[in-house]
Symmetry: C2
Subunit: 415 residues, 2 copies
């Protein structure tokens, strides 16, 4: 076999947002959690990672580029993922290109990896979840690995815990598992993205002046110091997970919203019970919660669920497009863009919802009236950076169109 | 006996701030808590309620004035206190004035009550605690009640739970009790105000745009919906209370600070775990916590403890005057007054600390440099309304100087 060939695979993997939260590891190295968690996968059209992985006898070392910038692969989390996936590599033959890689060759061959997020990395939108899931998925395809998505999820988990839930679309459960080696700590799909396709999701990317605690160190400190975390993990979450699975199976939005909100709040309660306390939500997050709570209580049944990860951004899950359009009206009344921002860059993702909400330009936003259930007509321009409109979405896919590859097929370097 | 006489007593009672928090009742009417709590009494020179109670055969009904404004006494909490204290009234004789009230007369005689807080009622500084304690204490003195302060505390408790802790100076424990009738749910003094007189207290009265949930309805909602509250009450607080008593006995500031901060944070964690979630702290509260945490960690041992009640105000307990002066420098650097506010109205209470901090005017405040442990040099003018400088203080006293009475000795009406 020639020394100049480059073999590549490109994959696209979604992010996910937990509705039953993962917070706390029982094993730091293997990334084994203290409780099960459940997530909804977000539509990769609006939030996803694309990763191209390449192998070539010409490569001198493993290298990686994230959003065009070279990054170190020396971290334990990358090394664990690379080691585990290489172990499972099998013979690969590309007759057209005249390439044949034997199983044993993979140990010596080096990899190039290029990854790109279609959303701002710094926005606190679980980029590491999509990133590690995509890395493992793309490598599995390149290396002809025969393990299924659940088995791959246990590898992605060793990169970033929540990454294991990005191997599937729809609603996904990360089973905490019991084994010391972590072999049974993996993700399974509860239902696919078609099961509950009424749901619509609006993410408020909230401005923050605070530097946030990373979730890795935050959850370590919670495990070490919170006197509530173990009670949550052992007594609260197991029952809540069962109820959540029921709610998802039955598309019972009232129950889904109640549990989603309660579990987000309890996760942040555990953060606050940590020493020193961790504050991920800020006054804007609190105001969004207050708006949603008041609206839900003013209706016969809840219209919107909220959930917050390790940052101030609100993920708002509306029971259908109509509720999402009404939600958007409420949000834009209280959190309009700053005067120099246009609606087109303030609402991104699936902008079709704007039409449903009767908001075709800034004039329509300015004409919005306060909503009766909300006691305050106060406006907070600039407190939200932008909104992303999206939906539950599908799992990882291979992109066969070579034009979408992030590495040059000749050099194996970023395009 | 003539029909024109008025007999009066005036008392002054301190506020208190809990260092082990009371949150959750097991009996709403008797106001019986789900856990013990511990507080420090604040110096009445800076924060207290003064109450004059008067009795006269000329009074047609029970009446009350708070800060000069007539208030209804029809609420169950007032009625419970009045009933319980009347039950214990005894014979009173004032030979000088030629007045004699028989035990049985008290049932028919009406009362006038005037109460005044030497601090803003709306500032969220436990005015109801001082108020009910003062009401019960002053009435007990007027009616020659023989019960001791602990027994009176069980009556004040029925007005406002935390009021029972304002019957003593120094550090006070509210024992939750076991009896269904609440007879053993009362306060005891752990140590008097001289036991640990190094402590210095700075209260940051924080600006808030939010209308806060009352503690009464907030704790009811927590009891009904938080899945963490019972765990806190049954598993966490009993151990923590014992450690806190030890820390106070030994004047062990490191342990005192650790438990005080952890318990404040856990109380707010339970509020967040409530449905709908309750947020008492805001971004300013979070910033103050972050400042204190960073400073404490940069020193060999903690310098300051923080605690927050049902609002955004920070109560900061410094281990001594020196630490308090350093704290004040740090606070004034980050939270200076707005440009139209002078230092004299921005720092109230025991202003002598300003000299210790080298801050004799706004020029000195403007000349402050950022402190090395605090990563940010950001300033937030206007985010704090003012600071109250004070210390642990004494319990209730009778004011024998008639000039200090709030009711006219002839008419029994507010002066």
């Amino acid at each position: 076999m020639g020394e100049k060939w480059v073999l590549m695979k490109t994959a696209q993997t979604p992010t996910n947002i937990a509705v039953i939260k993962y917070w706390g590891k029982r094993d730091e190295t293997l990334i084994l959690p203290v409780n099960d968690s459940i997530s909804v996968t977000l539509d990769p059209a609006h939030l996803c990672t694309t990763t191209t992985v390449a192998v070539s006898p010409a490569f001198q070392q493993d290298r990686m580029w994230l959003n065009g910038k070279e990054m170190s692969l020396s971290g334990g989390r990358y090394q664990n993922c690379l080691r585990e996936i290489r172990k499972r590599a099998r013979e690969v033959e590309d007759k057209e290109k005249g390439i044949k890689i034997e199983k044993k060759d993979w140990e010596k061959l080096h990899l190039h990896i290029a990854s790109y997020n279609n959303f701002p990395t710094a926005a606190g939108l679980a980029s590491s979840a999509a990133g590690f899931a995509c890395l493992v998925f793309a490598l599995a395809k390149l290396m002809n690995v025969e393990e299924d998505e659940s088995q791959l999820s246990a590898i992605a988990r060793q990169g970033s815990g929540s990454a294991c839930r990005s191997l599937f679309g729809g609603f996904v459960k990360w089973i905490m598992g019991k084994e010391e080696d972590g072999s049974d700590s993996l993700a399974v799909q509860l239902v696919d993205e078609k099961h509950w396709d009424d749901l619509f999701i609006i993410i408020a990317v909230v401005s923050s002046r605070q530097k946030e605690t990373s979730s890795t160190s935050g959850m370590r400190e919670s495990v070490e110091t919170s006197l509530l975390l173990q009670h949550r993990a052992k007594e609260v979450v197991p029952k809540r997970t069962l109820k959540m699975e029921e709610a998802i199976k039955n598309r019972d939005f009232a129950s889904f919203a109640k549990i989603t909100c309660a579990d987000s709040n309890q996760f942040h309660a555990v953060c606050l019970d940590t020493s020193p306390p961790i504050f991920y939500m800020n006054d804007t997050s609190h105001r969004i919660i207050s708006h949603v709570e008041k609206w839900n209580r003013s209706e016969e049944s809840p219209q919107v669920a909220y959930t917050f990860d390790a940052g101030p951004n609100a993920v708002l899950i509306a029971q259908n497009r109509k509720a999402a359009a009404q939600l958007l009206q409420r949000l834009l009344f209280s959190f309009p863009p700053k005067s120099d921002t246009d609606l087109d860059s303030y609402i991104i993702g699936d902008k079709t919802i704007l039409k449903d909400a009767g908001l075709e330009g800034m004039k329509d936003v300015e004409a919005l009236s306060p909503h009766p259930e909300n006691g305050s007509a106060q406006k907070y321009p600039g407190d939200v950076n932008y909104f992303i409109c999206t939906r539950p979405g599908k799992g990882p896919v291979v992109l066969s169109n070579e034009n979408l590859a992030l590495l040059d097929p000749e050099t194996g370097l970023p395009k």
